[in-house]
Point group: D3
Chain length 241, copies 6
């Protein structure tokens, strides 16, 4: 399989909860996977770490980085980067956009996964989603300044789930069956000890999505699923699915 999957995550572990089943699936298929975390989430997602004694921003960031790298290694991610922008609020500066532009031209992804562009309760997630979309647009145009003269092809951008789906106007358009990699995802989530309850929540979400998928066309037998929106329409050349 000649696929290159790029994942852009607002904070250190969003990607683990929300798309590591799909990552596991793609690694099994032989794809190359890159993960970029725009921030450590040391402010907004690290409440449990801050409860421990003698924490500073630096120690919290170190903890978050170590755990995300561990999950990344466990999943076989080929390339993991922590960009260390502050979170809450995450700001999509021109410099951040330029850096994403360069990285996309370098990697030339065949598909991209990031946050859905709506999240009613976490604005950082929206910022990450829009930055990914904007930078991807930049990477496709010859005239945009870059150290890399190559441009990228247009590829699909998938949006993973926010926490408050209904209030955020998130409507799952695509369900990815992750039944065969469910244990792998569970192991990866367990490595993120900074957010001990989040593993339980996303296990429940994936179980619920699996139940929904199992009743939908072509879904027989699915037990666990991750759901996504798609930024572009779906183009089919051979037949409907």
């Amino acid at each position: 399989m000649n696929q290159r999957l790029l994942v852009v995550s607002a904070h250190a572990a969003d990607w683990v909860w929300r798309c590591s089943g799909t990552i596991a699936k793609y690694k099994k298929l032989g794809a190359e996977v890159w993960v970029i975390c725009l921030s450590h989430g040391e402010r907004g997602e690290s409440g449990e770490v801050w409860k421990q004694p003698n924490q500073t921003t630096e120690t919290v960031k170190a903890t978050r980085l170590k755990e995300s790298e561990a999950a990344s290694s466990y999943l076989g991610v080929d390339h993991f980067e922590m960009w260390d922008y502050p979170d809450h609020p995450l700001v999509a500066s021109q410099e951040l956009l330029d850096r994403l532009n360069e990285k996309m031209r370098e990697f030339k992804p065949t598909l991209i996964i990031t946050h859905d562009w709506h999240d009613d309760t976490n604005a950082d997630h929206c910022v990450a989603s829009e930055a990914t979309f904007t930078a991807f647009g930049m990477s496709r145009h010859k005239g945009v300044p870059s150290q890399c003269s190559d441009t990228t092809e247009i590829v699909q951008i998938y949006g993973f789930e926010p926490s408050q789906t209904e209030r955020s106007g998130y409507v799952p358009q695509v369900y990815m069956d992750i039944t065969d990699v469910w244990e792998t995802k569970q192991e990866a989530m367990a490595l993120i000890k900074a957010q001990p309850k989040t593993c339980i929540i996303h296990s429940r979400v994936n179980t619920h999505r699996g139940w929904q998928a199992g009743r939908m066309p072509g879904g027989k037998g699915i037990q666990y699923a991750e759901s996504y929106t798609v930024r572009y329409p779906i183009i089919l050349k051979d037949k409907l699915f």
Copy 2:
């Protein structure tokens, strides 16, 4: 290919303008295709025929039927039925729903194409869409009265385009490449002489959709396309597309 495609059309030729490219594609792939027209459209879609001298409801219906059957034969549709309900307004009576239920249990479609469920300027199209959805629900349940004890599996229901897409809230979710069957579709449309300008309009629509698809992920080289919405989410077992 072991596919069975069911098409439900409100009037005699909606299906020709809006999905005959996909039908041609499926016939090429060896699928079995059934087309059901709920009405002749003798009231609302036959203005040009009524302009000819000495027309009655019966002569107009005869003209519409003959031309739709001709298109159907040309495309190699395996089974064509004209149900002859009045149009403008089309009414989804219990009898109509029961009949669709029976037909679906008999045919056991692997995919269904009908009108999108919103059409701001033609309520018959909405009625046909909802009737198809309701009858499909009936066909899936053992307890619903039927002469056929079998039930159907859940399959995807595609909605084809209304005329005023933006005002109807229609958002194309799936584009089907029909470049390789474009001439076939043109021939089929040309057989519907009752609506002489409609062929030009849908050629333009399919060209525009082809242009849009050609710029989207995976769309390189597409010249002509039909677009659809999907009634259910898309379930993927292997990989994202």
Copy 3:
């Protein structure tokens, strides 16, 4: 002015509260105006009348009819019809649609005013709106059975305000200045004694719409306005407005 305005009202006095300013304006301009009330509103809109002693459905209907006719005469409406369908719920039977179809072919309106097609708290209003739209579609097609062989031209259909605008998703698209006929509207409203508070409410609504209109492009000097939605897009041949 060679205009023919058709107003279709769910109950006896909806049209007075919601568009009689526009009617007054059109009468001043020399237009012909027809008003059709689908019901007396004897059930849902006549609470105050029922509070009087010894009321029956027949006495309530007589009261409502007398007052609506008085407003109609005062405004110079050319033709007023009370169709006497039951309300709450109002049902758009085939017979009602056929009757509207005939009336439209007879009158050949150059514009139509009825309820907006959304009303979150009064389903009769939605039914009246949809029936008007459906019957108008019927009146435009030669093939639809009718005693009148003529068909109608396509004309704009305006939707007047529901009571709970925001919850009904009503967004005013067009404001009609009724400042110069404001006293006429007030007099007409005062004739509907069956709903004594409603005059106050709609005076407030028209004042608020006047204030909004006065701050919008081209609205300087407006004090009172009625607002509408439009069912079709607006077509301009000379210049933007």
Copy 4:
């Protein structure tokens, strides 16, 4: 507590899955609770029963009725009625509306719970919701024919969750904490043996809603919750909440 809660359910057990926690809470508070099931759901919700040998419509209905009555008794529901309309499709006939109108005038509910008015995958649920709303409107007007001369006061109508929330456009507006009656709800659900997996699904839904509620203003400590929409705005006389 002087509350009278009316629950209207499309099928035999919708109300158990979706609001029996709230019912348990209200019974604990001393309220009077009436439950009306419009149908047995013998067609669309009874697949597991039909799998057993020698089933007929009558035997399936008997099973569904027995189990719903058992849950009703267990929860202390004061009055339970099975109206035995056919399902899939459920039709809101004038007779059904009249009957609901009578029942509402008789009971004079202080709050009503039924299906949310949108359900993308089960049209019967929408029909039940709209019928409840329409009949409630009828019950409030003196002029609507009834054997009961009393009318009802306007009360809030809550809508419980559909299965595919996001696709149905369902946005939870109110979360009811059911932590203290959770075991009661579990017992009630376990009595519906006709739908053995549904108990698991709704336990998951209520757990997820409990988790969401626990992170929202005023939600500390909540473990299980049922969510609702509200048909009318919320009116507060003392203070915001």
Copy 5:
């Protein structure tokens, strides 16, 4: 009553027109109320002041400040701050967000009122709403830099009305009865002489909301009301309302 109400207003007097009835109510109940104005509104809301001779930005700001402080004193607001950012456009700089974050940690509000997050005709209002929401998120997280080590609890954020409600997509979710403090609100509004007509407009709006509320569940007797949206869902522990 142990409530602390924080109000964040884009300009000098938005808060007076749109929520001073609720403030009066809370003061009557013994709550502590803080009001923060992000700008004087010297550019976009002070047209009448500019019409007076010899005005400069400084004199206009002095006028706006004096009048807002007068209204604040009249209402018994405990703490009033004018932050003096430029308006039209108001910009939510990192410095503004940090300052709001500090103020929230200091005050620890039990509820927050600001602009609804949509306003089709005044972008400053949207900016104020989003800044309040973002800063509140910052105030809840230990890791966000602050001179105050305390964090805040999650509390409800209410959004008050824009001027063009329907075009802004504003749907009132909560109506607060202000009948008993109506005279107080009228006095407070009269103190804002810089916007002489605005008092009339909001008296009309509050009267209209009062009329709507009076017909809704639990609203009997209400004459005047302020309406709000809620940013988070409503969590109920005891019973539905």
Copy 6:
């Protein structure tokens, strides 16, 4: 005709494709027309130019400028300005807003045309639309700093079409008949050689809009049309249209 039309375009040629028919119409009527391009579009819209040998940002910009000026001259535009901000992403800096504010006060437009405020696939278009709206608000207020003491009157702001209308939520509200200036528009489009295919696409779009307009009220005979949204409601003083 005493009209002054201001057009604000994100890139060098957006205005040619999307509203030059309306410009031609207004020039025919004797209006004064100003066009401002915020950027050359040298990055995102100039792919074909970059394919030619030895291109630099400066040579691409020179090409784009020359062709836009040619179209502008051909159409008789009175005043054309290229502001030379970078595109992809276009950023609405305070300086850009101030400059637009000054220009609007100088020109005092009687109508404004810019991009619709939604464009799902080109964020620069949204930025240009919002900047125009914000700057127009600034130009209307005496207190906003400006070298020009005059302010502007409120005038309508029209939004022209994005490329992916349905996905962008674009709903055409107004169709402008450009049949009588169609050849002029074709000539103008042909002058933009940097985007050779775009002329074909917009010819198709204008033909499709013409066909839609021709079937709408008042549209008989229209062959080509440009469609728009309106930012403000439409105010009518004489009669409905």
